[in-house]
Each structure stands twice: as C-alpha cells, then as structure tokens.
C-alpha cells in the first residue's frame, strides 16, 4: 500500500508525520523522500546509507562531422533546447527534457545521446525501516526525473510512505501519483487554509482518496475545521502546538521516541488510514 504525505506548502509538519509514521510501523515499511529539492527525512532518521546511485537524463550530442546544419532538430524541439546559429550547433542542456525527438528526426543521423547527472538516490536503513532519498543537484531545474527514479524503489508487498514536496505543480503530481491514499498536513491559519484548498484540488484531480492532519491546531482559528466539515473531508489527527514538540523537532529527533504517548497516536493514525484507503 502506498500512502503519500503532502501539503500545499512546506513547513506544516509533513516530514514530521512521514518520519514518525514510518518509524512506528518499522518492519516491512519503506519511506521515500520525494522532496528532492530539499530532502529532510534523513535528518530525523539518520539512516545508514548502503547504496547510492546517480540519476541521469539523456541530452543530445551532435556529431559536427555528420551535421549538415539543416535545422530540423531545432524545428522539432518544443523547448528551444537545441539550435543552429550560422555555422554552429548548440545544445542548452538545462532546457532539454530528454524527449528524444531531435535524435529521431535528424535526417543525417548526427545526433546521439549522452548522460547528464541531475541528482542522486540514496538507499539506507534505520532499524527495520528502509529509507530512499532523492536529491537534486544544485542549479538543476528538473525534479520529476529524480522523483521517478526514487519511486522505482517501491516494493510491492511493503507499506510505502512517500514524503511529497510542497506546492501543486509537476513535482507534487509526480510524487503522489499512484498513491492508494494521501494525507494532507495543514495548519489552521489563513495561509495554511489557502494551501490546503490547493492540495485538495490536486488530490481530487488525481482521484486519490485523502484525509487531513491539522498541526498546531490550537494556534489558529477554526475555519480549517469548518472547511473540512463542509467539504466532507476526514480529519485524521490533530497535533497541538507544544513547545516540547517544537524542541524535539528543532533538534532533529522523532516525537515518538521522546514523547512516548505519540507512539499510540501514530499507530491509531495508521489504523484509520488503512480503513479509509480501502473504502
């Protein structure tokens, strides 16, 4: 079963929920950190890394000997990533999506492809938990290929928890796609509610069943609860604002380790996710 933890925006406690939930389940469970721009889960879990693979995309390479400067490649590229300027041929690899069209259509077979490193995927373990982290290289713009690589590690018979990136665009979609259930973590402030509504739209568009966790529920107003009730959205858990939780989080520890009563709460969360996901 695949459960993704998402939020309209970062900083709402998404990683806290993902890491604590995965740790409390432990055996036959894997945690995928798909927030490849800013992966954070490993900071709380401190896994022993036992495998590291680079992630590549393919970018075109032009053989100047064979190229007749006909410009066909430039014509077929939807992203202006390849161009002929006078007698010169240029590839702008940062714009290239690696679709392969230029190579296919080059009438003179002048284009081959080469690998370009855009990130890494690390596999590690902590106790019985398997942790897969994707990390995008600085200065790269394309997260989805790194996320796709991370998701290749999904094991069928395992419980897979996905820590998704914030936002509503391509990286989020790529991360939550294929989930059996999603959890949206939010804060009861106007910012939080605004972002929650966007998250809800994404999940409805992708037809993924979901519920909401309200973090720091005593800090804001009750408009978020009203919204969930009006929209018939399940509230799975409420986490209070508590300086103790903030302190545990700030030093990079797990709540279930330092405040034992939360073990039970996260196990209960899992029970309700299981029931709701099946519906």
């Amino acid at each position: 079963m695949i459960v993704s933890i998402a939020s309209g925006k970062g900083g709402t406690g998404k990683t806290t929920v993902a890491t604590n939930l995965a740790s409390v389940l432990g055996i036959s469970c894997q945690l995928l950190d798909c927030d490849v721009e800013e992966p954070n889960a490993h900071l709380f879990l401190d896994p022993v890394i036992n495998q590291e693979n680079k992630v590549f995309t393919l970018v075109p390479k032009v053989d100047a000997e064979k190229c007749k400067l006909c410009g066909r490649c430039q014509e077929v590229c939807a992203y202006n990533a390849i161009a002929v300027f006078g007698k010169k041929h240029l590839v702008f690899s940062a714009l290239c999506h690696g679709c392969g069209a230029c190579q296919y259509f080059c009438p003179h077979k002048a284009i081959s492809e080469e690998k370009k490193e855009i990130g890494i995927v690390q596999k590690g373990t902590k106790n019985h938990l398997e942790i897969i982290t994707g990390k995008m290289k600085i200065g790269e713009a394309m997260a989805p290929p790194v996320i796709r690589e991370v998701k290749k590690y999904i094991k069928k018979d395992f419980i897979t928890i996905i820590d998704a990136p914030p936002g509503t665009s391509c990286p989020v979609i790529e991360s939550v796609k294929g989930s059996d259930y999603s959890v949206l973590v939010t804060e009861p402030t106007p910012f939080g509610l605004n972002d929650l509504k966007l998250g809800v739209e994404v999940l409805r568009k992708l037809k993924i069943p979901f519920g909401v966790i309200i973090n720091r529920f005593d800090l804001g107003n009750d408009k978020t609860i009203q919204y969930c009730e009006n929209q018939d959205i399940d509230i799975l858990m409420k986490i209070p604002f508590d300086r103790e939780i903030a302190r545990v989080y700030s030093k990079g520890s797990l709540i279930i380790d330092e405040i034992p009563s939360y073990r039970q709460k996260f196990l209960e969360l899992w029970e309700s996710i299981k029931i709701k996901a099946r519906k």
Binding site: N40, H97, G100, G139, I173, F191, L198, S250
Partner: protein, 293 residues
C-alpha cells in the same frame, strides 16, 4: 531601483510575513509574489486587480480516436509513459497529467492523429493595494512551467517599476531550489533568506544559499523564531559568519505574528512596539546594505 528577493529554501519559515512587513516599511515600491504555486501574500495585501492576464504555456497531446490506426508507434516513442492503450477499443490514449508536451508523438504519428493543444496554465494580475502596486499570479492546479510564469511576473514588475520610477522591487520568492526559484533569482540585487533554527531549517537554508551562490546573487540572513532553539540559532549564525553572510535580524517566536496574519494585517500594522522595532531594524539594515555596496 533595487530588487530584493525573500526566499527560504522551504515554505513555512515566515518568508511571507517578512515580505509583508517590508511592504509596510519601504517607501515607493512595487510588490511581487513569485510563489505562484501556493501564493499567500495576497491574503495580507488584499489586492484589487486592475489587470488580469491569461498565462498560456506548454501543450498537451490529444489523439483523435477516429484517425488512430493503432500502430503503437507513439507509445513506443514517448519517454514519459504518457500514452496508454485502451484495452476495450484497442486505441491509444494520452494521460494528460503525464504528458510533457514535447510533441514527439504528434510529429511521428503516421496517420496525423495527434494534435498538440495549448494549455491555459494560469493567470497573472496587476493589482492595487494599500501599499502600492502588486504583481502576482495563480498557477492552475497540476500545471507545469511555474518557472516561466515567475519570469513573466517579474518581467512585468520590472516594466512597471521603470515606468513609475520606484525605488524598490520587493519579491516574495518561491520555495525550494528548482525552476521557480532559479527564475525568481534572475536580476535580483540581494536575496534575503528567512531561516529557522531547526535541523531541517538549517539544511534548507544552506541548500538555497548554494543556489543563490551558484547564480552569484548576494545573500543576507534572517533567523525567524530564533528563541525556539538557541543552540541551532548559534549554528546558523556560525555558518553565516563563515560564509561571509550578514545576519540582519532575529525574530522571536511570538503568537502576535500569527494573529496579525489571521487578521490580514502586516506585523507593522498590527504589531506591538517590540515587533515593530524588530522588523524596522531589519529593514534599516537592508537599506544600509545598499548604501555600503
């Protein structure tokens, strides 16, 4: 005219609160929200839009069932697994969420069955607010190309800034380190990172610092909620010192900041004297930074 960008690596660190405070404090400015994915600044600025523009970007493939002869070529060429076979009709279908709009399939299809249609991916606005002009946008759900929308918004802000002879362009940046942030950073005179004293906060601040460095944008640091973990705050101060980055302010954890957001006010409008003093000093340091340049 100076352009300053407020970024954070990740959302939720108080970037928008700081931007809104600057909106209250700076004179003769234009405000910009580059967080097109999950814009929030409008909740405080309460804009009245003067101009609404459609943002079209990218294309999605569509297969006409009647023309498709089920040769399967498109499916074998598409590298984004966006083409599926409909087992009932034996025809091919596009999964529009996965389609990257490269157009490879449309060019290759022997029956000319595939058409590329332009996406309406969002809207952008020029608005009036009680603090002056505001350029912002809304990206459609599940739309890509937020980098391009950010670039569009920033371009417009720059034009308006020139026309109106403003002193400051104040930009609320987007989270992360990917395409929208890279687009936010272009043309910026100074990037201000709002960090928080947590293990992940430090990690994110460092990563976004590297990005700013990569694009050669000078950086300054603000530590928000500094009193939640003073050890971590020291760590941020240490690595800022080592990287030659000035820490221009430390903001305490204060419920009144959350309150001001809930009321749709800036901290300055709502604030008690301590908070006003704290944010005013930060703004003064931002200004001073430019005189020193």
């Amino acid at each position: 005219m100076k352009q300053i960008l407020i970024i954070s690596g990740k959302g939720g660190t108080g970037k928008t609160v700081v931007t809104a405070a600057f909106a209250s404090l700076a004179e003769n400015k234009i405000l910009v929200d580059c967080d097109v994915d999950a814009a929030n600044l409008h909740l405080i600025l309460n804009p009245e839009s003067q101009e609404v523009h459609e943002f079209r970007s990218g294309k999605t493939a569509f297969i006409s069932k009647d023309q498709c002869c089920s040769c399967g070529l498109c499916q074998s060429l598409c590298r984004f697994e966006a083409i599926k076979k409909d087992t009932l009709s034996d025809k091919f279908l596009i999964d529009s969420v996965s389609c990257e709009g490269c157009g490879f399939c449309a060019l290759a299809c022997p029956s000319g069955a595939i058409e590329m249609k332009e996406n309406l991916s969002g809207q952008w606005f020029v608005s009036n607010t009680r603090f002056g002009l505001f350029v912002h946008a809304k990206l459609g759900i599940a739309e890509e190309n937020s980098g391009k929308l950010v670039a569009t918004v920033k371009q417009k802000a720059k034009e308006l800034a020139k026309k109106n002879n403003v002193d400051w362009i104040i930009v609320d940046g987007s989270p992360g380190i990917g395409c929208p942030v890279i687009a936010s950073l272009s043309d910026v005179d100074c990037a201000i990172i709002v960090s928080e004293p947590t293990v992940s906060g430090i990690h994110d601040a460092k990563r976004v610092m590297e990005v700013a460095d990569h694009f050669k944008v000078p950086v300054k640091m603000i530590i928000n909620k500094f009193d939640l973990n003073e050890d971590m705050t020291k760590k941020i101060e240490m690595f800022s010192l080592e990287s030659n980055i000035e820490v221009i302010g430390k903001i305490p954890f204060d419920k009144r900041i959350v309150e001001s957001v809930s009321q749709g006010k800036t901290v300055i409008e709502n604030g008690n004297q301590d908070l006003i003093k704290c944010f005013s000093e930060i703004w003064e340091r931002v200004k001073k930074g430019f005189f020193a340049l």
